[in-house]
Symmetry: C3
Subunit: 360 residues, 3 copies
């Protein structure tokens, strides 16, 4: 049994731990219960619930195309009737993932660069991005400014001018890809005929895979009232979640939509809305520039894509099993501690479990 | 050997399992093969292929700047010659990650808000975002509408008006960062002289790190024909993948480009293209607004950045080794089961492997 | 003890490995040190530092709203005074996550489509996206082109025209969500009164949670000089990092801001800046189109959201403990190797550790 030959030969013997059997019912039952608990945890929780045998991919790639439809007529005493269609009320108009829909506005037409007096609305100065010239007038109690005149002085309409915007529809096309698994899919039903996509509206129960949303429904799904939100504007998140088990069929990987208001604080107080200004520039016959300033209030839609995919993979499976097996060993260690140090038969047990090798 | 002193002293003894050697060749070989398989799996698959000793980072941060170059002349019988340069055909013009290049368009100049009759093209009504006034005319068989008149009535040109767009070039500058490893890099070759970046075009084999792409090449790499796609428009994804092994040299972390058409269904049927409308607003001498409406067809480019980095880390290394060691133990359990319950020498083996401690 | 009854009965016995105690101080100390090292690694590194008992979420969802404030007056000899406010210098104006602030520009007013000669500035041709007609003129040494005439021929101002832009402020509203943990928060202090948000400016030490930034401070935090950067433009990343330990209180999950210049190479050489062109279109009394071309230089701000959240979860805890336990076993294996093959008492030890079962 000496030398390399013997060593190699001995490798073919099966070495296994020698066990002692402690005929102690209580410890035995304790240990078996522990083993059952670990097995239950591994099979029930790690494998069935958490799908621990799957490799996960959370870095979803996505592309979103949006298209709005609808038209509304506004009619203010100052600027007369105006027909709003998608090229006007969607900013930017090119079908992006984050876009803004005008629901209310203040128009200040025919502004020209020059000098004018500040305007006082009640006790506050009217908005004007301007520079003071230093000259102040006693008659009005305001100062002269260098600004686009006349300054914006109208108040925000108390009712949204584009209240019909609640009937506008958004068509959302979402293409996703899980690069690790080379899996890609779109949210538009492939089986459906094109005419379905022309008629349908998203409904959680009846039409969960129809990607066409009415603005009113979107806002009310987020728990708010469209008309109320339309006055000062706001921000709504459209979450598209793709939780896909790629061990199952391709057709079972479908998006879930959910809606949430983004511009809200913890204590549910609504912030000051959402608005910004933009201007349209014109030139008169003399080549002088004038502009129409729009302060637009509206709803910003943020389409957020979230997803994870799982697929069977040997590595996480082995890690999950391996760590469970190791845990079983940890239980034996605890039972040993009880037998060795906490029972009146401890010294007897110790003698039988341990064999002393005295090297001297 | 009793009392605390003795206990602490005994801690310095080395306790090790007592083994029994079963001189059973078949079980021995089985067990060694199993051990070899586990070792092979751990070293070969987990360490070499999957780099299980690395901590992974998938949350890549990135910033993309794009710049298009090229110019083309369109000449339609209605609106005369028009020179398109990047400020016109790129929407939005400010170098974003997702942008749209006009390849075809319908222009409807000099629209004014007013009342006009719907227009019938063949059996379909012409597009007009409008509101019916309720008045219908027998002579034309259509109804009066409140709209921007005249309504858009031209048909989409059968050949793309900006067919030269295939020669436009995109310069993509991509800066990435892996925050966990504080690693950052750009896709523009640092060693290269500036003149290289003025001459080169991306080619998979010869110029893999030149970030300048001809539109025609982009579309054909995605498996489609530019001229065909340019008619109705479409959507192309440019994927930039950064798979970096940060244990290796900085210069070896380089992007891989790939191209895919996004607006396609499973059954390869092409969807209805990509288009949207925008308008340019003018005022005449009387201060009345009129506009030119453009329905633009074109290709939307979505630059998607994807990446993961790996770097040696002790935690995943230990988890990988530990779970492998635990697996070795699981094999011994299986071999024991065979020896204890499935062989005719089982009772003999059981007597030698187990020592019974009778506590009574 | 035979038959199924006996087998089930024996399951209630506690089986445990039989140990041999090697009274070898050196190996004993070695093994205990190893055990201490493994325990220290698991408790200190995996649990305390790396929080290995937590499930991690890196797929942060976020929505960003930005609003710029400030106004500046430019005065060039050619086009006279011009007042820039946010609707002009922010491109796009609608409060997006990536936006551009104009700091310098070249204006080329009253361009019309037509034929003109190329312009030579020094030895280089002036920029003109154009098509050569083939006709060349000896008098100027340049060729006739079909272009928007006159071509852009001014040089970039050596001092930024909007140098006051350094005092503009950005208000960043960032809403985040960790979908796995259903946790959401905004970067705007909920406890603070609104008036605080009107006065405060971000400062790393004094006002770390005030989301209002002066452009000059942003650029200098990124290690650059605003005025220098404003001449040719550049790109600045604003990183908002949310590293949240969700086992702790909600109020302790707060964003960290950091700032970095993006358009820089490894060797710190600054690239050619950031600029693009856009045009404003006008029509004269005859309905002919002319335009003003702007080449704008400026700073692009990329707001990047990054974050990870951790929360106690049983699965990673078990994996961390289990792999540690398995490691302890690996140490015993190493000590055994020493005792069995590398000491002069090896054969004695081997005889005691192993018991041979001879099946014949």
């Amino acid at each position: 049994m000496a030398g390399w030959g013997g060593f190699l030969f001995s490798l073919l013997n099966y070495k296994t731990e020698k066990y002692v059997i402690a005929e102690n019912r209580r410890i035995g039952i304790l240990f078996r219960l522990y083993q059952l608990a670990v097995l239950g945890y591994i099979i029930g929780w790690v494998f069935v619930v958490k799908k621990g045998y799957q490799e996960k991919e959370e870095a979803i790639q996505s592309s979103v195309i949006t298209k709005l439809k609808g038209v509304t007529l506004t009619n203010t005493s100052e600027t007369g009737p105006y027909l709003w269609s998608a090229e006007d009320y969607v900013i930017p108009p090119n079908g992006e993932q984050v876009f803004f829909v005008v629901t209310n506005y203040i128009e200040t037409p025919n502004q020209r660069l020059g000098f004018c007096a500040e305007v006082r609305i009640g006790r506050k100065l009217a908005f004007s991005e301007s520079r003071k010239t230093g000259l102040c007038l006693n008659s009005t109690g305001t100062c002269e400014i260098h600004a686009w005149c006349p300054v914006e002085y109208n108040k925000r309409p108390a009712e949204p001018l584009l209240s019909d915007a609640e009937n506008f529809t958004i068509y959302i096309k979402n293409f996703i890809r899980f690069p690790k698994f080379e899996f890609s899919k779109a949210n538009v039903l492939e089986t459906s005929d094109e005419s379905y996509l022309k008629r349908c509206f998203y409904e959680k129960e009846n039409h969960p895979y129809c990607p066409i949303f009415r603005l009113r429904d979107l806002v009310s799904s987020a728990g708010h009232d469209f008309q109320e939100m339309a006055v000062k504007g706001g921000s709504v998140g459209i979450l598209i979640e793709w939780n896909c088990d790629l061990d199952k069929d391709y057709s079972l990987c479908n998006p879930q939509y959910s809606f949430t208001r983004l511009d809200i604080n913890l204590n549910n107080s609504i912030t000051s809305g959402y608005n910004f200004r933009y201007a349209r520039y014109y030139k008169d016959q003399n080549g002088e520039t004038y502009r129409t300033l729009y302060k637009v209030y509206g709803i910003r839609f943020d389409i957020m894509i979230n997803g994870q995919a799982g697929k069977f993979n040997i590595v996480p499976t082995v890690i999950a099993i391996g760590s469970g097996v190791a845990l079983l060993g940890a239980g034996a260690f605890a039972c040993d501690m009880i037998l060795l140090y906490m029972m009146n038969t401890s010294s007897f047990y110790r003698e039988r479990k341990f064999e002393i090798i005295n090297f001297k």
